[in-house]
């Protein structure tokens, strides 16, 4: 049996949630007003205090790790098909597959940071993933994911005081976001990224060129990365837009937070990273419209 006062209290809580004031609620229940008022005041205080937001750095790190786990899960679920690839790419794919299955090194490299010996393997694996993904939208999804990684790496470098390496990673962030925009622009072929950064990249960051494709078996997905075409394509593009908008907000907030705490020596590089992230994310979101 439901207690009447419990019902009244709950109704008032719901009304407060829709923007009504305590006095408006109490007007409906004058006989219970004395008992209700302090409870509603308490509820408002608790609700206000409970509106805690996770730290941007934590959100960026958590998203990066979660996306890595998603990618791993997607890879396990998919059936790789290499028939459409030319010989060199097939061999590359098989070698990578053997590495993935036969050792934890590649998996471990996914979490490596730019000061790790495994970092170059991480970048090479990313480039291979791009090359082995068929559709532009699939590639763009990867670019978005890799951009998240770059931001996490920049924040990591800033925290560690390795300011000399931030520009290199920012260069890759620039390229990932530029490729993301160009791959999702209607009617535009993927164009070479226009680097804003003065220093030349130390690792060739541009995704490997995709060779001319042989006719494809229509029903076969490729490594679980592709979005296919037709009806699903639009939905996936909408999803990607939501993801990129969210990433843009979180990543820029994470970089700003890192800037606030960074040593003076790292601030110029971080400011360049923020400027590039803001401009490139804006362009990518416009391209996804």
């Amino acid at each position: 049996m439901v207690n009447e006062f419990d019902e009244i209290l709950n109704e008032c809580l719901e009304r407060l949630a829709t923007g009504e004031t305590i006095d408006q609620c109490l007007q409906s229940y004058p006989e219970q007003a004395d008992e209700l008022r302090p409870l509603l005041q308490t509820a408002l205080v608790v609700k206000k205090a409970s509106a805690i937001q996770p730290r941007p750095e934590f959100k960026a790190r958590a998203r990066y790790q979660f996306r890595s786990a998603l990618q791993e899960a997607a890879s396990r679920k998919s059936r790789p098909v290499f028939g459409w690839l030319p010989h060199w790419a097939t061999v590359t794919a098989i070698v990578i597959g053997i590495l993935l299955l036969g050792s934890g090194v590649v998996a471990a490299s996914g979490y490596s940071m730019p000061d790790s010996p495994l970092y170059s393997l991480k970048i090479a694996t990313e480039n291979a993933q791009i090359a082995l993904t068929r559709s532009d939208l699939g590639k763009a999804e990867l670019n978005a994911k890799f951009a998240d990684r770059r931001v996490t790496e920049i924040v990591y470098l800033a925290n560690k005081g390795y300011d000399g390496r931030i520009d290199d990673v920012t260069q890759r962030l620039d390229e990932d976001l530029t490729m993301l925009a160009s791959r999702t622009s209607a009617g535009e072929a993927a164009e070479a990224p226009k680097a804003l950064m003065a220093p030349a990249p130390t690792i060739a960051p541009t995704p490997a060129p995709v060779p001319p494709q042989a006719p494809l078996p229509e029903e076969e997905p490729v490594l679980g990365m592709d979005s296919g075409s037709g009806r699903g394509q639009l939905n996936k593009q909408d999803e990607l837009k939501v993801t990129v908008e969210q990433s843009a907000a979180d990543n820029i907030a994470a970089l700003q937070a890192a800037l606030d705490k960074a040593p003076e020596s790292a601030k110029p590089a971080l400011q360049r990273a923020i400027a590039i992230a803001e401009e490139r994310y804006q362009r990518a979101i416009e391209a996804l419209e």
Partner: protein, 196 residues
């Protein structure tokens, strides 16, 4: 007498969309990213209020989503919203954490539950800004069930119906628990303000 009409099915539309999304995520894990974005902050707040620590809540929140991803294929639609399933994972994570923490606890909360404050203090200073630390401290004086209902209703903003699904109780029981939790919180906050 007013009848309750406002809260009913407030999120019905969202749940319908969610069902399609979850079904797709079971086939294509990457679709789970949208669910992650929709629930991340809410689950984080739920855990913060449950355990009373923002720092510890970070790792637990992350683990909730990794566990959900691992178990996603086993999720079946049986009239229970996906959010209830997700919060159950978060609940289990919190219970595990609290159990481990209790083993290493050096302080007892027993003594903290003794505060009994008169309700006839009309000018109570609750209008002043009460920061999160005070509220989190106050929630430690609640029972586990009271703390959970506060987490679900105020931190995660779930409806009574959703909270009932998460906690496996009737809606009436949730309303009663909510009432007792607010009363207990009020006493705890008054006690804190008097002590310090």
């Amino acid at each position: 007498m007013h009848r309750i009409t406002i809260a009913a099915n407030r999120k019905g539309c969202q749940v319908q969309n969610e069902e399609g999304l979850v079904r797709r995520a079971q086939q294509e894990p990457e679709a789970f990213a949208q669910i992650y974005e929709a629930y991340f902050d809410k689950i984080y707040r739920y855990i913060v209020v449950r355990i009373g620590s923002e720092a510890e809540a970070e790792d637990l929140t992350q683990q909730v989503f990794l566990n959900a991803l691992k178990s996603l294929s086993s999720f079946k639609w049986r009239g229970v919203p996906f959010s209830a399933w997700l919060y159950r994972i978060a609940h289990n994570q919190v219970v595990d954490y609290l159990r481990k923490k209790a083993k290493h606890a050096t302080e007892s909360l027993d003594g903290m539950v003794k505060a009994v404050v008169s309700n006839d203090n009309p000018q109570m200073e609750l209008e002043r800004k009460v920061d999160i630390e005070q509220v989190l401290l106050a929630t430690k004086r609640l029972t586990e069930a009271q703390r959970e209902v506060i987490s679900l209703r105020f931190a995660s903003e779930l409806s009574v119906a959703e909270a009932a699904k998460v906690m496996g109780k009737s809606e009436g029981a949730i309303k009663a628990l909510q009432h007792s939790a607010i009363v207990a919180l009020r006493k705890a906050l008054i006690s804190e303000s008097e002590n310090g």
